[in-house]
C-alpha cells in the first residue's frame, strides 16, 4: 500500500519519500557518516556538526574505534556499522567511502538500518553500474538518495547541513535565510548562486547539490515536487549542465499536469561549447548526445517560460513562470524581475554587488587601458581583516610534509652534479666570505656588505663557548676522540639554555612589531616614531648599562657608525639610550640579526620560525669554531675576543678569525681566498649526504637545534669528512725528499710531471703485484676517479674544474693540485688506468688544506696528527654552516618522525 507521501509523488515509476523541501534535512535529522576519518570528511564533518546543532550521532571507520573532536562535542567513531546500531539510531547515512567501496557502504546501511530514510553520497568517480545498483536497492528500501559526486544538502531556515561542505568552513556566511530554493548540478555553484542572490536581497530555503554524474538521483522533478510543497520557498534557482533528460522530464510532467508546479524558476543552462567534445571534461554526466546538449536544454526552458533568455537591459521581459539566464551572474537580477512580475518582494536589503572588486593588484608599472585600470577594494569581513593580517605577516608560509630524503634548502644539479644551497651552486658561494654564507644559509640571501663589521661582532661575541663546553671538548680530546666526536660532545653542553629563550623572545617581539607596522623596506624612516613607540610598549627598558659587560655599548657604537643603519637598528639604539632591557646583548644581537635577514622575511624567503631561532643558530655555528681548537684559552686571539672589549678585534672578519684559530697564524689574501673556497665547497652536498641525514633525522625526532647539529656531527667520520687525510698522507709521501719551499710555486712543470710519472709507475707496479697476489681490495690513490664522471678518454669532475679555473684566474696556484692533474695523465700514459681519471672534489679540499698547513708543518709548529684533524675540521666548519640550512628547513617544513624508514623498506639479513 502506498504511503501518503507516495500518493503525491508525480514520478509513478519510482519512490520519492520527500514531500516538501522542509523535509530534506531538519533539526531532527540524525546522521551517521561512513569513512568519517577520511581526509575530506574529518575536516568537513566537524563544521557540519557544529552548524547543525550536533546532529551526527556516529561515524564508521573500518577497523578503528576513535572519536572525532568537533566544536559541538566529540563524535564517536566505530569500526563497523553493526556496532553503531547497537548504541545509536539515525535516519540519514552519509558516504565518504572511496568510489569502489560506495556500493558496499550503501548495502551495509540498508541491511543494518531499517529506519534509514536518506543516503547522501559525496564520493566522486562512482561507476555508473554501481550507481544503477545503488538506486535499485534504495528504491526497494524506500530511501531517498542524493549524489554521488555532490556536496550534500543544506537548509538555511533550520540551520542544518548534511553531507558535504556547502558553504565551506563558514556555512552561516553564505546560507542566509530567504525564499529561494537552489538545485545545482555544480556543488560550487550551489554556494556561489546563494552568495550572488544576496546582492539583490534574496536568501535561501533549501540548497541541493545534485551532482552531475550520468545518473542524478534526486533530480529536477523530485526537487520541483518538493519545492511546490514547501511553504517557505517562493521561487527556485536551477543550475543546469548538458547531458541527460531530467529537466525535460520535469517540464513535461508540469505541462501534462502530472506535476503540479506554479512557482517561478530562474534557470541557468551552461555548456554550449561542450557539444564539440567527444569525452567528458568537468562533470562526468555533462557529455551530451544530440538531443540533450546545452542548446536543446535552453530550448526546453525557453519554451516553458515563453520568453527568450534574460536580458539585463530589458529586465521586465520575464514571465510569471520565470526566465532562463545565460550566465549565473544574471540570476539575482532575473530573480528580482521575476519577483516583481509575480508581485513578491525580496527577502532583505540587498548587500554588495557583483561588479569587479579586486582585492590584490600589482601591475608593476605596466600601462593598461583605462577600462582595465582598477583600484583595490576592501573585501567583506572577515576577509578584510585577514588581508590586513597577511599584509603584516612576515616569513614564508610552508606546508608541513614528509621531508625524508627531501630538502627545501639544498639540491644537486643532476646535469653537473654540483650541489647548490638555496639554488646557488656552492662553487659560486666561494665568492662570499664564511660569515656571509652563514647568513645566506639561514636566510637564502647574503647580507648587505656594509653590515658585515656588525655581523662579525655578533658572531665573534657568540663564538666564545661556555666553560662546560670547553671542558668537555678538552676531556674528549684527551680521551682520543675524533674532531667530530669532540664537537658533538661539547655541543651537548650548549643545549637550549635560558639565554637563547630570551633571544628568541626578543626576536619574536621585534618581528611582531615590524609586521604590525607593515615595514617592507628598512631604509624608509617615516615609521620611526611608531616603531620606537612599539618598542617601548613591547619591551621593558629599565636597567642601567652594566659596567661589567661592555659589549652592548660597543655594538651600539658600531651600529651608529654604519653609513646606513636602517630604521630598525636606528630606533633600537635610540631606545637603548634610555635604558637597557634584561640581557641587552641578546636584544641587540636579535635586532642586528633581524636587520640582516629582514629582506628575506619580507619577501617570504625564510620561515618566521627560522628567524626567531636565528640567534640560536648563530650561537651554535660560531661556538663550533673555538670548540675545534685544542686549548683555545692559551691563544692570545681567544683571550682578546673573550675580553669583549676591543671593537677592532671583535669586528674582524669571522673567516679571518677562523683561519687564524685553525692554522695558528694570520692569513694572507690568497690563503684567505683558498680557505674561503674550501668552506664554501663543503657547505652542502645535498640532502642525501650522511651529515645532512643525521641532522634531519634528529629534527624529525623533535630535538633542540644544538642536538640536531650533534646528529650531523655523529654522522660524519673518517670516511665522510675525514677522508682528505688519506690524500694529504699520499701527497706527503709523494713529495718526500722533494718538499717545495713554497707550495704556490708551479714554475717547474717538468719536475711536477716527472714526479707524477714516478708515482704512476710505482702505483702500476704495486697494483700488478697485488693482482698477482690475488688481492682485489688493493689500496687506491685517493681523490681521483668518480663513480659519475668516468668512462670518457679524459674525465673531469666539473666542480673541481670550475673551482680550479676560478682560483687560477684570481692568481692562486698550488703545486699539489698541479701534481694531481699530472698524476692522472701519467697513470693513463703508463697504462695503470684505462683512461684519464678525473681529479675529484675531495682532492681540492686536500690540496688546499695541505698548502695552508704547509708552512707551520715545515716549521715544526704542526704535527701530522694536527694536519689530519685540521683537514677534517675545515670540512666540519663549512658543513656546519650548510647544515644550519637543513636543520632550519626541516624544522619549518617537516613532520615529527618523518625520517623513519617504512617497515616495507626494511630488510632482515641472515
Amino acid at each position: 500500500m502506498k504511503t501518503l507521501m507516495e500518493q503525491y509523488n508525480p514520478l509513478t515509476c519510482c519512490h520519492v519519500g520527500i514531500r516538501s523541501l522542509e523535509e530534506v534535512v531538519t533539526r531532527d535529522t540524525r546522521v551517521c557518516i561512513m569513512n568519517i576519518l577520511g581526509n575530506e570528511s574529518r575536516k568537513v564533518s566537524p563544521v557540519s556538526h557544529a552548524y547543525s546543532g550536533g546532529n551526527i550521532v556516529a561515524g564508521v571507520q573500518y577497523g578503528r574505534s576513535a572519536v572525532l573532536p568537533t566544536p559541538a562535542g566529540d563524535i564517536p567513531v566505530y569500526s563497523r556499522l553493526a556496532d553503531v546500531m547497537d548504541v545509536h539510531t539515525f535516519d540519514t547515512g552519509v558516504i565518504y567511502l572511496p568510489p569502489e567501496a560506495v556500493y558496499n557502504g550503501v548495502t551495509e546501511l540498508c541491511h543494518y538500518n531499517k529506519q534509514l530514510k536518506k543516503i547522501i553520497i559525496i564520493t566522486e568517480k562512482v561507476s555508473v553500474k554501481d550507481q544503477r545498483l545503488i538506486r535499485a536497492i534504495c528504491q526497494a528500501n524506500h530511501i531517498d538518495l542524493f549524489g554521488a559526486n555532490c556536496l550534500g544538502v543544506a537548509d538555511a531556515w533550520q540551520h542544518v547541513r548534511v553531507g558535504g561542505a556547502l558553504g565551506g568552513d563558514h556555512p552561516e556566511e553564505t546560507l542566509k535565510k530567504g525564499s529561494v530554493a537552489i538545485h545545482s548540478n555544480s556543488g560550487n555553484f550551489s554556494t556561489t548562486i546563494a552568495e550572488y542572490l544576496k546582492t539583490q536581497g534574496f536568501g535561501v530555503t533549501t540548497v541541493i547539490s545534485s551532482g552531475k554524474d550520468v545518473i542524478i538521483q534526486f533530480a529536477v522533478a523530485e526537487f520541483l515536487f518538493a519545492a511546490q510543497n514547501d511553504p517557505r520557498t517562493k521561487a527556485v534557482a536551477l543550475y543546469v549542465e548538458p547531458g541527460g533528460y531530467y529537466e525535460k522530464q520535469a517540464l513535461d510532467l508540469i505541462e501534462n499536469g502530472a506535476l503540479p508546479f506554479d512557482k517561478p524558476m530562474v534557470v541557468c543552462v551552461t555548456g554550449r561549447w561542450k557539444s564539440n567534445l567527444s569525452r567528458a571534461c568537468g562533470h562526468a554526466g555533462a557529455l551530451a548526445g544530440s538531443g540533450d546538449d546545452a542548446a536543446s536544454k535552453e530550448a526546453w526552458f525557453d519554451a516553458y517560460f515563453g520568453v527568450p533568455a534574460f536580458d539585463p537591459e530589458q529586465p521586465r521581459r520575464v514571465s510569471k513562470r520565470g526566465v532562463r539566464v545565460a550566465s549565473i551572474q544574471h540570476i539575482p537580477l532575473a530573480m528580482k524581475a521575476v519577483y516583481e512580475v509575480t508581485g513578491m518582494s525580496c527577502d532583505f536589503e540587498p548587500s554588495g554587488s557583483l561588479g569587479l572588486k579586486p582585492w590584490f593588484i600589482n601591475n608593476f608599472g605596466r600601462t593598461l587601458p583605462l577600462s582595465l585600470r582598477l583600484d583595490v577594494h576592501t573585501a567583506p569581513e572577515p576577509y578584510a581583516a585577514r588581508i590586513e593580517e597577511v599584509n603584516r605577516a612576515l616569513g614564508a608560509t610552508l606546508i608541513r610534509q614528509n621531508m625524508r630524503n627531501a630538502s627545501g634548502a639544498s639540491h644537486i644539479d643532476t646535469s653537473t652534479y654540483v650541489a647548490a644551497l638555496h639554488n646557488v651552486p656552492v662553487v659560486d658561494l666561494a665568492d662570499f666570505s664564511y660569515e656571509e654564507n652563514i647568513f645566506f644559509s639561514l636566510s637564502a640571501r647574503h647580507p648587505e656588505k656594509e653590515l658585515l663589521p656588525v655581523l662579525n661582532m655578533c658572531l665573534n661575541y657568540l663564538s666564545i663557548p661556555g666553560n662546560a663546553a670547553l671542558q668537555t671538548a678538552r676531556s674528549a680530546r684527551r680521551a682520543g676522540a675524533t674532531p667530530n666526536q669532540v664537537l658533538a660532545g661539547a655541543l651537548a653542553c650548549v643545549g637550549d639554555n635560558r639565554e637563547r629563550h630570551v633571544a628568541r623572545r626578543y626576536m619574536s617581539g621585534l618581528i611582531d612589531i615590524m609586521g604590525a607596522l607593515a615595514l617592507r623596506d628598512l631604509h624608509h624612516y617615516d615609521k620611526a616614531a611608531g616603531l620606537k613607540k612599539a618598542l617601548r610598549e613591547t619591551f621593558t627598558f629599565t636597567q642601567a648599562p652594566a659596567a661589567s659587560d661592555a659589549f652592548p655599548s660597543l655594538l651600539m657604537k658600531a651600529i651608529r657608525s654604519l653609513p646606513e643603519p636602517g630604521v630598525l637598528l636606528k630606533c633600537v639604539t635610540d631606545v637603548l639610550e634610555e635604558g637597557y632591557p634584561e640581557h641587552a646583548e641578546w636584544f641587540l644581537i636579535a635586532a642586528v640579526a633581524l636587520h640582516a635577514v629582514y629582506p628575506s622575511l619580507a619577501l617570504k624567503q625564510m620561515a618566521r620560525q627560522t628567524a626567531e631561532d636565528l640567534p640560536g643558530y648563530l650561537s651554535v655555528v660560531a661556538q663550533t669554531l673555538w670548540l675545534s681548537v685544542p686549548q683555545p684559552e692559551e691563544r692570545p686571539l681567544f683571550k682578546a675576543l673573550s675580553a669583549r672589549e676591543d671593537t677592532a678585534i671583535l669586528s674582524r672578519s669571522f673567516t679571518e678569525i677562523a683561519y687564524e684559530a685553525l692554522f695558528n697564524h694570520a692569513p694572507d689574501a690568497i690563503g684567505l681566498r683558498e680557505f674561503n673556497a674550501l668552506l664554501a665547497l663543503t657547505l652542502t652536498n645535498g640532502p642525501g649526504t650522511l651529515s645532512a641525514k643525521g641532522a634531519k633525522e634528529s629534527v624529525s625526532a623533535r630535538n633542540h637545534i644544538s642536538t640536531a647539529f650533534m646528529g650531523f656531527l655523529t654522522n660524519t667520520g673518517l670516511s665522510h669528512g675525514g677522508s682528505g687525510y688519506e690524500a694529504v698522507q699520499y701527497l706527503l709521501e709523494s713529495f718526500k725528499g722533494r718538499e717545495p719551499e713554497d707550495p704556490a710555486d708551479i714554475s717547474r712543470p717538468g719536475a711536477i710531471r716527472e714526479l707524477a710519472r714516478e708515482r704512476a709507475l710505482a702505483f702500476k707496479e704495486y697494483k700488478e703485484a697485488e693482482k698477482v697476489r690475488g688481492a682485489t681490495r688493493y689500496k687506491r690513490i685517493p681523490c681521483i676517479n668518480h663513480p659519475v664522471f668516468k668512462g670518457k678518454r679524459v674525465n673531469t669532475d666539473p666542480r673541481e674544474a670550475y673551482i680550479r679555473k676560478h682560483l687560477r684566474e684570481a692568481g692562486v696556484t698550488n703545486v699539489f693540485w698541479e701534481f694531481y692533474h699530472a698524476l692522472v695523465e701519467a697513470l693513463y700514459d703508463v697504462g695503470a688506468t684505462s683512461n684519464v681519471y678525473c681529479v675529484n672534489i675531495d682532492a681540492v679540499i686536500a690540496v688546499i688544506s695541505l698548502k695552508l698547513m704547509w708552512k707551520p708543518w715545515r716549521e715544526g709548529r704542526m704535527k701530522e696528527q694536527d694536519m689530519q684533524d685540521i683537514g677534517f675540521l675545515v670540512f666540519l666548519l663549512g658543513r656546519t654552516a650548510g647544515i644550519a640550512a637543513e636543520i632550519a628547513d626541516h624544522r619549518s617544513r617537516g613532520q615529527d618522525m618523518d625520517c623513519r624508514t617504512p617497515l616495507k623498506e626494511t630488510r632482515y639479513v641472515v
Partner: protein
C-alpha cells in the same frame, strides 16, 4: 538507419530492472508490439539479452548496435551486428578486461592530455581538453560549473578547458601545473585561475601547488611574459592569495586578484579584455 527519423509507432521504449537486466521476454514483448516477423523473434530473443551481459560486465555506459542483419546459418537465422557504437565508463575499470588495443583509446588524446591523464586519481579532478592550440589565455578552472561558464566566455582565446576541482592534494596540483605551464605558458598572455566560492577545496593548498610550479617553471625557463588574473573564493582564501601574491611579487609578474564577491563571469570577461589589450601592446611594440 537513423532511429530519430523513424515514426513513433516503429519505436518501442522498454524499461527493465537494473538488477536482473535485459531478459528474453523484454525482446519478445517489444518485437511483438512492433509486429515483427515471427521467424526473427526467437533468434533475437536468444541473442540480444547477451548484450546486457556485455554491457553489465565490461563497464559500458552506452551501447548501440545498428543495424542488425539476420544471417541464415545452416537453416537457422542468426543476428549479426553490422555496426557497433559504445562508450565506456572511465570510473569502471571492467572495460580493461576486454583488452582492446590501445589505439582505440588514443585517437583523440593529445600528448598534453595524456600526461595530465596519468595523474588521474579519485582525489581531485584532473580533466583537461585542448580548445585552441593557438590560444592565448591559459586557465585553471575549478569546478564543473566554472569550467562550463568560463570556457564559454573565453571561446577561442582559451588554450585549454580544465576542471581541477574536488580538493586536489598539493603534489597533484603541483604536477598538473608544471605540465600545464610546460605546454602552454610560452604562448599565453594571460594566466587565469577561476572558480566560485569553493566549499571544500583548500585554496591555500591548490594555490601553493600552482604558484610553486610557476616559480619553478620560471627558474628553469625564465620569467614568462604573462598577466595573472585570479577569481576565487573558499577555505583558506586569503592565505592562498597572499602566497600567490608573494610569488608573483618575487617574479615581478603583474596580477589582479578578485574574491568571491566579484562575479566569476565578469572576472573571465576581464581576462578576455586584458588579453585583447596585451595583444595590442605587443603588436605596438613589434
Amino acid at each position: 538507419m537513423d532511429i530519430e527519423e523513424l515514426p513513433a509507432d516503429q519505436i518501442v521504449e522498454s524499461t527493465f530492472d537494473p538488477i536482473t537486466g535485459l531478459k528474453a521476454y523484454h525482446i519478445i514483448d517489444a518485437l511483438t508490439r512492433l509486429n515483427a516477423p515471427g521467424e526473427i523473434i526467437s533468434p533475437l530473443a536468444r541473442y540480444l539479452p547477451k548484450l546486457w551481459e556485455l554491457y553489465n560486465d565490461y563497464g559500458f555506459i552506452m551501447l548501440e548496435i545498428n543495424p542488425i542483419r539476420m544471417e541464415n546459418r545452416n537453416g537457422r537465422l542468426v543476428p549479426v551486428a553490422c555496426d557497433f557504437k559504445a562508450q565506456f565508463d572511465q570510473d569502471n575499470p571492467q572495460w580493461k578486461r576486454l583488452h582492446l588495443p590501445v589505439e582505440v583509446f588514443q585517437t583523440d588524446l593529445t600528448p598534453f592530455e595524456e600526461e595530465i591523464n596519468q595523474l588521474r586519481t579519485y582525489q581531485g579532478q584532473s580533466d583537461v581538453v585542448i580548445i585552441n592550440p593557438e590560444g592565448t589565455v591559459t586557465s585553471f578552472m575549478f569546478g564543473g560549473g566554472a569550467n562550463s561558464a568560463s570556457t564559454e566566455i573565453l571561446g577561442d582565446k582559451a588554450t585549454i578547458s580544465t576542471d581541477f576541482g574536488g580538493n586536489p592534494p598539493y603534489e597533484k596540483m603541483y604536477s598538473i601545473a608544471r605540465i600545464v605551464y610546460r605546454y602552454w605558458l610560452q604562448q599565453s598572455r594571460v594566466l587565469l585561475i577561476i572558480g566560485g566560492k569553493a566549499n571544500n577545496t583548500d585554496i591555500f593548498v591548490t594555490f601553493k601547488g600552482m604558484f610553486d610550479a610557476l616559480r619553478d617553471h620560471a627558474a628553469h625557463n625564465g620569467r614568462p611574459d604573462i598577466y595573472v588574473i585570479v577569481g576565487r573564493g573558499g577555505p583558506n582564501l586569503i592565505k592562498g592569495m597572499a602566497y600567490a601574491r608573494d610569488v608573483l611579487d618575487r617574479l615581478e609578474l603583474p596580477y589582479t586578484f578578485f574574491g568571491y564577491d566579484t562575479s566569476i563571469v565578469d572576472v573571465v570577461q576581464y581576462a578576455v579584455d586584458m588579453d585583447n589589450a596585451l595583444a595590442g601592446q605587443k603588436e605596438g611594440r613589434s
